[in-house]
């Protein structure tokens, strides 16, 4: 009876979490006419790469429109999420841009259920009471991880929770197989989380040694898991080592605040911190024989602070899942408090407390005193983020980008003039053509000088993170950027060298849109140049004089 009630609670939680988290963010639909709820460039970066893998059929190389027009650049980004997005998109018959975002949210909910089983090893009641807290990964600011496209890190952490589940199940037959598979999954999804996984494994091992003494069997089991994981991911790890680790090696650096990002700090738990503190203190009182789930909670808390020892924003990414890693302390704290009120705790109390906290933390009902706390900037109770937004993209820009990807020659080069959206430049890769965009500062200066020019300061946007490595030998990669002129990615460029121009017709700063249209009109003075596509917000012009004198410089 007790067990089936547990299953019912887990099922109810799954439905509610899916409804209030992922579905609410995605406007309660999976299929969208354009990338939905993408709030930053990084989200497009991942979507485009997954799309490119679908197009090319593999991730041997990064496509040219992602890597600044260069070909033969080794696919170096951890590919796990992209492949899953293609698999799911193909099976469900939905676009990759919907599949990728759905999977990240969906597996985040699955990870809550796995964490339930982790905590259940410690105590069933605490596991149930922890569930509402885990939903807070969909509160602000942790939700930023989803909306701004930290997707590989988030999915990597979902696998990390799988890895934690394996650590807890240390009696399971052939445990090293699970360790290897989950560690390998982390490595190919977001490799930096693998470093945290190994740190976690080492800490758990040390704790076990302190608790039970040294066991050769354990060390063989754990190290076999790690060795197998490294072997099965060795092909990717060689690329990772030759690119990411070469370009972004570890250096000690204290980064207390995540500049430019709404990072999550412990104070973000607000009033719930009292409950967390109680749970932590209660765990610490049994320090001598503390079970593994709270030990892991403490380790994940500390890993979230590794921004102070050089792990920079990677530590802040771990904090997106703090509500999940630390949920055990919430459950334990609540249990401690409620035990004071109810002496004989039973399943009915469990159910009531579970639903009460689900309601409180979901923010379905606004509790006046808590709402007041929010306005008066005193600690409040975090609740789920409830505003669904289409994000940066809109139907018109999406249609324009789709037109470029389907109607222009594969070798065409596209030049984007000013657009409000284009500062999030990864979205431009949806044109699926090598592209460049005007430097906004130079564009404004040119407008202020009242001139129409042929040469503008231009950026060739692309993903050069972790080095654009071309393979020289099995273990050696050459930075392809070194082959290019220094001013290639950013410098004064002749717009006449491009095949297509994109002009936005509307802007938050209408003067910039009008200047766009003035340039477009001057280009169209040449009879060989034609407007080939336009909608309410953008116009695409085909350059009829590529390499020639496509526009006359003049004052306006």
């Amino acid at each position: 009876m007790k067990l089936s009630i547990e299953v019912a609670i887990v099922s109810a939680f799954f439905i509610v979490a899916l409804y209030l988290g992922p579905a609410a963010m995605l406007n309660h639909t999976v299929n969208h006419p354009f990338p939905y709820a993408y709030l930053a460039s990084d989200a497009f970066q991942h979507q485009v790469r997954a799309d490119a893998i679908k197009e090319t059929g593999n991730f041997k190389y990064e496509t040219d429109y992602i890597s600044l027009g260069l070909t033969g650049v080794e696919g170096r980004y951890p590919p796990g999420l992209y492949h899953l997005a293609v698999l799911f998109g193909n099976t469900a018959g939905i676009p990759v841009y919907d599949a990728i975002v759905f999977l990240v949210y969906f597996f985040a909910v699955i990870s809550m259920l796995i964490m339930f089983f982790v905590i259940k090893h410690f105590n069933s009641t605490v596991a149930i009471l922890s569930l509402p807290c885990s939903m807070l990964i969909f509160s602000f600011p942790p939700i930023v991880g989803f909306l701004w496209g930290h997707w590989p890190s988030l999915l990597g952490q979902v696998f990390l929770i799988g890895f934690i589940w394996v650590l807890i199940n240390n009696q399971i037959k052939y445990q090293f197989i699970f360790l290897a598979l989950f560690l390998a999954s982390i490595i190919i999804t977001h490799t930096s989380e693998a470093i945290f996984a190994v740190l976690l494994l080492g800490s758990v091992f040390l704790y076990e040694v302190m608790q039970k003494g040294f066991s050769l069997g354990r060390i063989v089991n754990m190290s076999s898991g790690v060795v197998i994981a490294f072997i099965i991911t060795s092909y990717f790890l060689i690329i990772f080592n030759g690119t990411w680790l070469t370009a972004q090696s570890y250096s000690f650096h204290v980064m207390p605040i995540w500049e430019g990002n709404p990072g999550f700090y412990l104070t973000g738990f607000g009033l719930l911190l009292v409950i967390f503190a109680l749970g932590m203190i209660s765990s610490l009182t049994k320090m001598k024989d503390m079970p593994l789930p709270p030990v892991i909670g403490f380790i994940m808390l500390l890993i979230g602070f590794t921004n102070l020892i050089g792990f920079n924003f990677r530590a802040f990414q771990i904090r997106f899942f703090w509500p999940l890693y630390l949920s055990i302390f919430f459950g334990l704290g609540i249990y401690m408090i409620l035990k004071l009120l109810v002496r004989k705790w039973g399943m009915l109390h469990n159910i009531i407390a579970f639903f009460l906290f689900m309601i409180l933390l979901s923010g379905i009902i606004s509790v006046p005193i808590l709402a007041q706390a929010k306005t008066h900037l005193v600690p409040s109770v975090p609740t789920l983020y409830k505003s669904s937004s289409p994000g940066i993209m809109n139907q018109y820009h999406w249609d324009m980008l789709q037109w470029l990807s389907m109607n222009t020659e594969k070798s065409a080069k596209v030049y984007f003039f000013y657009g409000d959206l284009y500062s999030q430049d990864a979205l431009l890769r949806n044109a699926k053509r090598v592209h460049a965009q005007v430097d906004v500062g130079d564009f404004i200066e040119s407008l202020q000088n009242r001139t129409i020019r042929r040469y503008y300061l231009t950026e060739v946007p692309g993903d050069s993170g972790g080095m654009l490595g071309k393979r020289e030998s099995m273990f050696r990669f050459n930075d392809a950027m070194s082959e290019l002129p220094k001013d290639y990615p950013y410098g004064r460029k002749d717009i006449c060298l491009y095949n297509y121009f994109v002009f936005d017709k509307v802007s938050g700063q209408q003067a910039l849109a009008q200047y766009n249209l003035l340039i477009a009109q001057d280009l169209l003075k040449n009879t060989a140049t034609k407007a080939v596509y336009q909608n309410e917000v953008a116009v695409i012009i085909k350059n009829g004089l590529v390499g020639g004198d496509c526009i006359a410089e003049r004052p306006i």
Binding site: I15, G57, N58, I114, G162, W165, L181
Partner: protein
């Protein structure tokens, strides 16, 4: 022995079926703007890609893990293995666009093979 093993699967299929129904209901309730058939296709895609392969792979561990726990952890395990093998198959020249047929099928086969030929005769499973 083989009959006992089949019986275990038969018994568990009922629970797997209930989980599939709960999953389909959850997807439809949460994503209520999605037409019913599309919602069903999305749920069945999750079942085909992750639930069934994960469940089959973990059949070997049925005596140690409760079925619900196996199904949930199986989701993640299947996802991890598929991501990894899809990457390597792609590099090896097998186009990624056929992996959604091939990979789940392969994992289901491997899982069942490990269960029928690799596990002990014990037919009892842990219940949640």
């Amino acid at each position: 022995m083989l009959k006992d093993q089949f019986d275990v699967i038969k018994k568990e299929m009922l629970i797997v079926g209930i989980v599939v129904i709960v999953l389909a209901a959850a997807v439809k309730i949460a994503f209520y703007n999605e037409p019913l058939m599309d919602s069903l296709r999305i749920s069945l895609s999750l079942v085909w890609l992750f639930l069934l392969p994960g469940y089959c792979l973990l059949l070997f561990w049925r005596a140690q893990l409760a079925i619900i726990e196996r199904i949930i952890i199986g989701f993640l395990l299947a996802a991890g293995i598929e991501a990894l093998t899809s990457y390597y198959l792609g590099i090896g020249g097998v186009n990624v666009n056929i992996h959604h047929f091939v990979l789940p099928l392969a994992l289901i086969t491997i899982g069942l093979a490990a269960y029928f030929f690799g596990s002990s005769t014990k037919s009892d499973s842990r219940q949640m």
